[in-house]
């Protein structure tokens, strides 16, 4: 168990700077999710913490000790890989015990620790099997088992659930979270799935093009996204973003006028989450509905505003209003309006 500190970490491949200075303080036992689209540098960041990539500049401290120049094995970490990376020629028990064997533990002690971990992960029946005789979910568990038997200070997960089917993913998500909480081991978890990020994280880092766009609790990021990118990446369906203009103390979207809480004048980007829109006969926003997707608990309405911007609203229950015919009037509470700078995308107010 340890804290992890990233202090202005950068990574350069040749001339390409793929990580442009990321700083983060991870508390002992905290579960941090690094989320972002593919190519944003999230895996590279994790691999630098693991010691599988060198750190170009900046400091990495694990448990308060600078770890930049330490070999992976000297960092007291364990990693779960996307493809599990099990040793194909070893049985499940040998896979899990490999690290302990190298550490030079007595055979009996290894067997006991492997048995404990296997019990925790319900792998006891499978200890003599080879990886190729296991299902995807079982392999995932073995990879987890290999990570926990060594009782490391830090767990690193590199998209561990992306090769599983949807149902198993939800189940393993809960299991990983429970296990991490039970063991109290600091964890860094990389994913491109914003639902995983929202449900698992104590805090998350939203990454884009090598930069940390926002670091905060899932609800923080959801309720007060720091940038336009974070706003659109987190939340499903994703946030509507329309061009608006601050003028005469109000926000104008074409004909429509909304209250302007920030008092910002000039062109801005206005972000409205689909689930925060309410049907309101007097509402300022008029949307031409083109398609309705009934999901049971709620209905997604896709269409356009008078300005031409595409627009989505998520209304509770089965909603037939405006379907096919067209106009639907909507309103939104002032606290659910997100304003961003039209150029930099930074949050206003």
């Amino acid at each position: 168990m340890a804290t992890v500190t990233l202090d202005n970490i950068t990574k350069r491949f040749g001339r390409d700077e793929v990580i442009k200075g990321v700083s983060l303080d991870v508390a002992d036992g905290e579960f941090i999710v690094i989320v972002g689209p593919s190519g944003c540098g999230k895996s590279t960041l994790l691999r630098m913490v693991a010691g599988l990539e060198t750190i170009t500049s900046g400091d990495l401290r694990i448990g308060g000790v600078r770890a930049n120049d330490r070999e992976p094995m000297d960092r007291d970490i364990a990693m779960v890989f996307q493809n599990y990376a099990l040793y194909p020629h070893m049985s499940v028990a040998q896979n899990m015990g490999y690290g302990l064997k190298i550490a030079g533990l007595p055979r009996a002690e290894i067997a006991a620790k492997v048995a404990d971990a296997a019990r925790l992960l319900q792998l006891t029946e499978l200890l003599d099997r080879k990886p190729r005789q296991l299902s995807g979910g079982q392999r995932q568990r073995v990879a987890m088992g290999r990570a926990i038997v060594r009782a490391p200070s830090v767990f690193l997960f590199d998209e561990p659930l992306s090769n599983l089917d949807a149902k198993l993913r939800v189940q393993m998500r809960l299991e990983i979270r429970e296990l991490q909480a039970k063991l109290g081991i600091t964890a860094l978890y990389v994913t491109h799935d914003q639902v995983e990020a929202m449900t698992m994280a104590d805090r998350m880092i939203v990454m884009n093009a090598g930069r940390a766009e926002q670091i905060g609790t899932p609800l923080d990021v959801y309720e007060r996204p720091a940038t336009l990118f974070a706003a659109q990446f987190i939340g499903s369906p994703s946030m509507n973003v329309v061009n608006a203009e601050g003028r005469d103390g109000a926000l104008h979207l074409g004909e429509a006028a909304l209250p302007n809480s920030t008092g910002h004048a000039g062109p801005v980007k206005l972000g409205l989450r689909p689930e925060h829109l309410r049907p309101d006969p007097e509402g300022p926003i008029t949307m031409q509905v083109q398609l309705a997707e009934p999901l049971g608990a709620n209905t997604l309405l896709h269409g356009r505003l008078a300005t031409g911007d595409s627009f989505t609203a998520s209304l509770p229950g089965v909603h037939t209003a405006g379907q096919g015919s067209g106009a639907l009037r909507l309103s939104v509470a002032a606290e659910h309006m997100h304003l961003f700078d039209a150029h930099s995308g930074a949050r206003l107010g």
Binding site: L52, E71, M73, F81, Q82, A85, L86, G99, R150
Partner: protein
């Protein structure tokens, strides 16, 4: 799903396999049949007539101390050639696999020796170690070592082993390098995080994962050492000194074409055929079980 094409008639399929059947017949079944047939006869010293002796040739060979010695020579020679061709190849492949810069150039250079024909390689090594004009022999002399593979049996064996294995290293290197590059990076990284340092990783993770390639190369190299090293031995030692480098295939040649004893020569090639067949069957039966595909 496997897609199978079925032919209605028999003429087209026959035509399609005919070239392969023809080649096998002309270059394998016919000469092999001839060898088996000839092994049952003894020709007279001038090759004008021959007498049927049944298994007499085989009986004579099994009692012949020179022939038994040739078996032992072959066993030593092929073991040494296989080891000398595979271990350095694996080492070079491991090193080349770690390269980031100019890996392509090293790879190309390491492949070149394979392009040299065994007989040419033999001459090359012969010149380097020639007792009178050889560069290496001269340097060894400067160091106080009197190199003479023409008289010293161990030196002769060492030289033909090195000359035979040299070109083969390139071939093995290629296969090992391809196999190394097929080992998933993440498995190596997982082992590194598990605490295994380079050589530990190599012996406990990489080598077991290479076993299909290693097994294949083992079979191919042993067959090479048995048969294709003829050119090397012929150019460097001609089987000498005192038959110290006369491996079975060389004895087939020297008894048949130098000694003109075609019956014995044919019998020897039949035995050789059986030995190599048996060896390959044994390898597939026993070693393959320990290979992780």
């Amino acid at each position: 799903m496997e897609k199978r094409v079925t032919f209605k008639g028999w003429l087209l399929p026959l035509c399609l396999i005919a070239p392969q059947v023809f080649i096998s017949a002309v270059f394998f079944f016919y000469p092999a049949g001839q060898a088996i047939w000839q092994s049952l006869f003894i020709p007279d010293p001038f090759g004008l007539s021959s007498r049927f002796v049944g298994l007499g040739n085989f009986e004579y060979l099994l009692g012949d101390s020179y022939y038994r010695a040739s078996f032992i020579t072959t066993a030593i020679f092929s073991t040494l050639v296989t080891l000398a061709a595979m271990i350095p190849a694996l080492f070079l492949a491991v090193m080349a696999d770690r390269l980031v810069k100019s890996a392509g150039a090293y790879r190309t250079l390491l492949i070149w020796p394979y392009a040299v024909a065994p007989a040419v390689a033999g001459v090359l090594w012969l010149f380097m170690f020639n007792t009178r004009v050889g560069v290496v022999a001269w340097y060894l002399g400067q160091l106080g070592y009197d190199w003479n593979h023409v008289l010293n049996q161990n030196e002769a064996m060492g030289l033909v082993v090195v000359a035979s294995a040299w070109g083969r290293i390139s071939y093995n290197f290629l296969f090992f390098l391809a196999a190394l590059q097929a080992v998933p990076r993440s498995i190596i990284e997982a082992a590194a995080i598990d605490g295994a340092r380079f050589w530990r990783r190599f012996f406990t993770i990489v080598l077991p994962l290479l076993s299909p390639t290693t097994f294949f190369l083992l079979v191919v190299n042993i067959v090479y050492a048995f048969f294709e090293t003829f050119g090397v031995i012929h150019t460097i030692t001609s089987g000498g000194p005192q038959q110290a480098t006369t491996i079975l295939v060389y004895k087939v040649f020297s008894d048949g074409f130098v000694g003109q004893d075609l019956g014995s020569s044919a019998a020897q090639s039949v035995i050789l055929l059986l030995v190599v067949g048996l060896l390959t069957v044994l390898q597939f039966k026993y070693i393959e079980k320990r290979v992780h595909y």
